[in-house]
């Protein structure tokens, strides 16, 4: 079943997927985690839990503390205060790293090695037996569409291919938990869809995924719960729908005509709070979209305009995100 509003029939709702697999066991436990860079408080005493089998989104504007948090959870940097554990192991310990697969932000594979050799290198570093590594590696490369180029040096790969390879490297040890820092950032549509589809499959098979992203649609499509971090502090943490509704955003009616319409006239329609022109479309913000649709149809008839498209838009996670982060800024 397609997730409402996704427009992508291959992507399924996180509510349909894996929800039954979320157990009571805590996979990630974060208590008062804090990181300072000089006078800057990059992460400010944050606490949260991620259940096993959950696909957890971690959202925030640039510089909010997302990557710093992921780096503390994956043992790259040490926290100044507080603690974090992964399946009961201290976050920076070898035990925690052994159970985690990591796709760091802006990471690269070794460009002087082939895709296959990169994969086998990581398998060796995780102590995966050779036969198992070869079988799993071949399967992952096949799934990610890299099999035909597996023996080519990575320096000849496109950005999307490199990112898919790094995801394969994160998965070669069959980890119980995945940390993905902006895995689809800057990728072409095909690569992004491939990665998102794989994440859903992995989560459906019970993997816990900690996903950092800027992309609100991606978070909305994939995540069971999201946390929004701003200026180092968590400002909201809940299911995407609950966050959307809790912030009380307004609905809008998006419409396009076969000709130009007067913005002033549209703004004067009853119940319209404001009007925006977005390309060839007009977006009318309102608290009562049902009544406004009838008025817009009437407006088009009176002005001899034909309606080309008309959509009612609910407040999005992006609206909630902007509202929450703006509120914090003020």
């Amino acid at each position: 079943m397609p997730y409402p509003g996704s427009g992508d029939r291959r992507l399924r709702s996180p509510r349909d997927l894996g929800a039954e697999m979320i157990g009571d066991m805590v996979c990630i436990q974060v208590d008062n985690l804090t990181k300072r860079y000089g006078k800057l408080l990059a992460v400010d005493h944050i606490s949260f839990k991620v259940e096993q089998g959950e696909l957890f989104g971690f959202l925030g504007p640039n510089g909010a503390g997302k990557t710093t948090t992921v780096r503390m959870l994956t043992g790259i940097i040490r926290a100044d205060e507080g603690s974090a554990s992964i399946l009961g192991h201290k976050a920076s310990s070898l035990g925690a790293k052994q159970m985690s697969g990591v796709l760091p932000e802006m990471a690269n594979a070794y460009t002087d090695l082939s895709g296959w050799n990169n994969l086998m290198l990581v398998a060796q570093l995780y102590g995966v037996p050779t036969k198992e590594a070869r079988e799993r590696g071949a399967g992952l490369l096949q799934k990610m569409g890299l099999e035909p180029r597996k023996d080519d040096l990575v320096k000849g790969y496109s950005k999307g291919m490199k990112q898919r390879l790094i995801l394969c490297m994160a998965l070669i040890s069959d980890p119980q938990i995945l940390f993905l820092d902006e895995p689809t950032s800057g990728l072409d549509v095909q690569s992004a869809r491939l990665i998102k589809g794989l994440l859903q499959d992995l989560n459906a098979r019970g993997k816990t995924i900690f996903l950092t992203t800027h992309d609100m649609d991606e978070a909305n499509q994939l995540c069971h719960r999201v946390a929004i971090i701003n200026q180092g502090r968590i400002v909201a943490i809940d299911a995407p729908d609950k966050i959307r509704l809790a912030t009380g955003g307004v609905h809008s009616v998006e419409i396009s005509f076969n000709g130009e319409a007067s913005m002033e006239a549209l703004a004067k329609l009853s119940g319209v709070n404001s009007v925006k022109k977005l390309g060839d479309k007009y977006r009318l913000y309102t608290a009562d979209p049902g009544d406004l649709v009838a008025l817009v149809v009437q407006f088009s008839g009176l002005n001899h305009l034909k309606i080309v498209s008309l959509n009612i838009l609910a407040p999005t996670l992006e609206d909630a995100f902007v509202a929450l982060t703006e509120k914090e800024r003020k």
Binding site: K97, N108, A109, V122, Q124, L125, G127, M169, F179
Partner: protein, 251 residues
């Protein structure tokens, strides 16, 4: 305190990191230039036209080549990985910072060991004889490890530019060559020159090489070997201690 199984596991992963470094970095331009070509041409520029005995030249040449080759790879790996954005991926694997550093040192050590065989073979072909091959072999191994650790110390400042590290390394390496008995044997140095030479690990290797090939050294063999061991341990400890602090700052 890590368990025996953990130590063994990390030792295996250290060798995997060393093998990765060997595959990637041995053919890099700075390694070939600073590690192989540079010492050979430097040596030739000081020896050609001076009618020196082959027994005198070969210990110096072995010392120069071992010093430059063993310090060629270990300084550039960490900055190179920072620049290429592969370091964070490596650090997120179940390996400690100590394992990463030791792996880089081992790759440099193996490079020094392998290339230093070239002047030894050339020397043997030209008719030199080695009075104590086992002592020379022990000295080559200890010195190569110590020099590789020294190279790693050069990369402690958290820069992502291999050229910056090579500059820092050159500032140290060239003076060390001149005070280590390569061109002037220890017994011909003035007392103050000899005092300075004792701070260089290369001094002890050159002295032992002269004893094994030329038949005359200045210090007792045991002192040379112990000094090389002490430098290797000290430099490894410095490299690990400081990289533990600076490596997370590279990310």
């Amino acid at each position: 305190m890590p368990s025996g199984a953990t130590v063994l596991q990390q030792a295996r992963r250290c060798l995997i990191i060393a093998s990765k470094d060997i595959r990637i970095y041995y053919s890099k331009g700075p390694v070939v230039i600073f590690g192989v070509l540079f010492p050979v041409f430097l040596f030739l520029s000081f020896t050609i036209g001076r009618h020196l005995e082959i027994d005198f030249m070969i210990p110096g040449l072995i010392g120069m080549v071992l010093f430059f080759t063993a310090t060629a790879i270990s300084p550039i790996v960490v900055p190179w990985e920072t620049q290429a954005r592969t370091l964070e991926r490596l650090m997120s694997c179940p390996v400690t910072i100590e394992t990463i550093i030791l792996g880089d040192i081992l790759a440099s050590f193996a490079f020094g060991l392998g290339i230093s065989l070239v002047p030894i073979v050339i020397g043997l072909a030209l008719g030199i004889s080695i009075s104590s091959p086992l002592v020379l072999a022990a000295a080559v191994i200890l010195a190569a490890f110590g020099f590789a650790a020294l190279g790693n110390v050069f990369s402690i400042p958290p820069t992502n530019l291999p050229a910056t590290v090579n500059m820092i390394a050159s500032v140290v390496k060239f003076p060390v060559v001149f005070i280590s008995g390569i061109f002037i044997p220890l017994d011909e140095l003035p007392a103050w020159g000899r005092a300075i030479s004792y701070v260089s690990p290369l001094t002890y290797f050159t002295d032992i090489a002269r004893r094994c090939i030329q038949g005359q050294g200045y210090l007792p063999v045991a002192v040379d070997l112990l000094a090389l061991l002490a430098f290797a341990v000290l430099l490894l400890a410095v490299a690990v201690t400081f990289h533990r602090r600076t490596m997370p700052r590279r990310i």
